[in-house]
């Protein structure tokens, strides 16, 4: 697979000297052709700045940006084979849907017949044929979203940038557009760079995710890896729900990347230990386990013992808020089944989990 976007040693700061704000620090990143790549992080983490630098709306303070092997640093947005779907859609209010979609091609100086054909094709691609002559103010938010997509796709860019494009839609429409986006990406084969703060959106759509915080990329990998093997506390906390436990390290490096921890109640369990950290034996470490990766057992059995403090019903499943033997809290996700009512507060139960579910994390 060839490299579509190549970013090396990129820094971006706003302001000068001691008052300077470092929006991006030492970003190195390659995005492959045809990839659905997501920049994920809380607001202010630098993901939108990075997107704006790729689009050409901002210049990096230092570093190089290559698109399809060509250095585009210093080129304006109108000189890059990249189009953007804006968070606010930014549809031109005085132009019809068709004129909006055809704008990029018109600016590229394409002949009228070609513009007409491409616009028709794009309208069909986003299923908006019936709306061609409407003004943006005359269509719904979801339809505006489709038009914004079609407008950005019409010039056949090498890369499509999407800046939180689904954040203004309601939940049901958002779900629809998620699969729509994925379909469009597969059909067109264009590289998508998607910016979001919604971890679920990132997990369901992306080929790879870069989790960002404070201007840095903390972890880069496929959704499964990000979810199952978060590199630090921030990533574990930001992606999905997780239980953080303070546990004592008993044995280090049983095998490569493995350790033994002492659980509340005294039993010992093996946990994965990333090679990057090396806490001393006998010290307290932070370990994580996902709420759905532990299972309830009858009281007295399993690795840990717990008491149900409360339960929250979520439809498909119930979150049981438990207190462990040493008073640490633990959330257990239990799928709802009509034949198994969820245990009442005060119920004692045991907990077991698959080997490898428990991970030691860098603090």
């Amino acid at each position: 697979m060839s490299q579509e976007i190549e970013i090396t040693g990129l820094n971006k700061s706003f302001g000068q000297g001691a008052a300077a704000f470092h929006a991006l620090r030492a970003i190195d990143l390659t995005i492959a052709t045809g990839e659905f790549f997501t920049l994920l992080g809380p607001s202010g983490c630098g993901k939108t700045t990075l997107l704006r630098i790729i689009a050409g709306f901002e210049e990096p303070s230092t570093g190089v940006l290559r698109i399809n092997g060509k250095d585009v640093t210093g080129l304006g947005p109108d000189k890059r084979p990249i189009n953007t779907v804006f968070q606010s859609y930014a549809l031109f209010p005085h132009m019809s849907v068709a004129q909006n979609i055809g704008f990029g091609l018109k600016m590229l100086g394409k002949p009228k017949s070609e513009i007409k054909a491409t616009v028709a094709e794009m309208l069909q691609l986003v299923r908006m044929e019936a709306m061609a002559d409407r003004l943006p103010s005359e269509i719904s938010g979801g339809q505006q979203q489709r038009v914004a997509l079609a407008r950005a796709l019409a010039p056949r860019p090498r890369v499509l940038l999407l800046d939180e494009p689904l954040s203004a839609l309601d939940l049901k429409l958002r779900k629809e557009m998620q699969s729509e986006l994925k379909r469009l990406q597969t059909e067109t084969g264009i590289t998508f760079v998607f910016v979001t703060h919604d971890q679920e959106e990132a997990l369901t759509m992306s080929d790879r995710i870069a989790v960002m915080s404070a201007g840095e990329i903390l972890q880069l990998g496929p959704p499964q890896e990000i979810y199952n093997a978060p590199v630090n506390r921030f990533v574990a906390d930001f992606i999905g729900d997780t239980n953080f436990l303070r546990l004592r390290l008993r044995v280090k490096a049983v095998a490569a990347g493995e350790a033994v921890l002492e659980l509340p109640g005294g039993k010992q369990a093996s946990a994965r230990l990333p090679a990057s950290i090396s806490p001393p034996v006998g010290s307290l470490v932070t370990a994580v386990i996902r709420p759905e990766q532990a299972e309830p057992t009858p009281a007295g059995q399993g690795e840990m013992q717990a008491v149900v403090a409360s339960a929250t019903f979520f439809g498909t499943d119930t979150h049981l808020h438990l207190l462990l033997d040493d008073a640490q809290g633990f959330v257990l996700r239990r799928q709802n089944r009509p034949d198994q009512p969820s245990p009442a507060p005060g119920t004692k139960l045991g907990l077991t989990f698959a080997p490898g579910a428990l991970r030691v994390l860098e603090d």
């Binding site: 689009a55 050409g56 709306f57 304006g76 947005p77 109108d78 990249i82 189009n83 953007t84 804006f86 606010s88 930014a90 549809l91 031109f92 209010p93 005085h94 704008f103 990029g104 600016m107 590229l108 103010s137 407008r151 950005a152 010039p155």
Partner: protein, 273 residues
């Protein structure tokens, strides 16, 4: 129910004693003199206080008065010219103060542009009189240029305000989107910014036009002999005798202003969406 209770207990100025009376008096003061002026423009006799029957004779007199025709045409020409120049300059000023990011002295420039809104007109008038007199002595030129320049400068803030207001509501992302879609800066301006500014520009032109048509003080101090506009001519006539011919001219003047203000209203409302 909660919402209603809150709304009912909120302070409402309409329930103060005398509110209705003050409101009615205000409207009477605003409109009754104008209604009387218009009514007596149709009076058959010369009286401004006794109705003697309906007639269009004062309109006829006004139309047949070649002096009235001359000053009306001069007023219209001056208003169109000054409002055009003012609108062009105001458009550039509005672009400069809203589309280039913050720069030092921005608020200062904003205040400077709006000078005519803050400096009393009579001060500007006297200043212009002295200034223009000096130039006249030096150059010997006594044409309409002085009036055009003075009216243009005076109209700029009135043209500037609606244009700037329009630009401020324009999403910067639209221009970014145009650039993203391969439009050069000039194309982005030509296809996106300018068309979207049009309602503001039209509104600015109309306001400037009405202001120029209306101003007495500036014209009075700047004009040379034989450069009366309609307002200064009427002022001159009123010093001698008040005939309903003046009512007729004022009524026509009012009709023109109303038409422009109505057009202004519809343009900003329908195109401003």
């Amino acid at each position: 129910m909660m919402g209603c209770a809150v709304a009912r207990s909120r302070f409402s100025i309409t329930r103060l004693p005398g509110f209705g009376l003050i409101a009615i008096l205000t409207f009477v003061m605003l409109y009754l003199p104008i209604v009387i002026l218009v009514a007596f423009s149709f009076n058959e006799g010369i009286s401004q206080s006794r109705w003697e029957g309906f007639s269009l004779q004062w309109y006829q007199a006004a139309f047949n008065n070649s002096q009235v025709r001359d000053v009306s045409l001069r007023s219209l020409w001056l208003a169109v010219t000054a409002a055009s120049f003012a609108t062009i300059l105001a458009t550039l000023a509005a672009l400069g103060t809203t589309r280039v990011g913050r720069f030092p002295g921005q608020t200062m420039i904003y205040a400077l542009i709006n000078q005519p809104l803050m400096v009393p007109e009579i001060v500007t008038g006297i200043a212009l009189l002295i200034f223009v007199a000096a130039i006249k002595v030096q150059t010997g030129y006594t044409g309409m240029g002085y009036l055009v320049a003075a009216h243009t400068a005076f109209c700029i803030p009135f043209a500037y305000l609606p244009i700037r207001a329009r630009l401020e509501t324009l999403d910067h992302a639209l221009e970014a989107a145009a650039a993203d879609l391969y439009a050069s800066p000039i194309q982005a301006f030509r296809y996106i910014t300018l068309p979207l500014m049009v309602p503001g520009i039209l509104a600015g032109f109309m306001l400037g036009f009405v202001i120029s048509l209306d101003t007495v003080v500036i014209t009075e101090f700047v004009k040379s002999a034989g450069q009366d506009t309609l307002p200064t001519y009427m002022l001159g006539q009123l010093r001698r005798s008040v005939t309903p011919e003046m009512n007729a001219i004022a009524t026509l003047f009012l009709a023109l202003s109303l038409m422009i203000v109505t057009a202004f209203f519809f343009i900003t409302r329908t195109r401003g969406r």
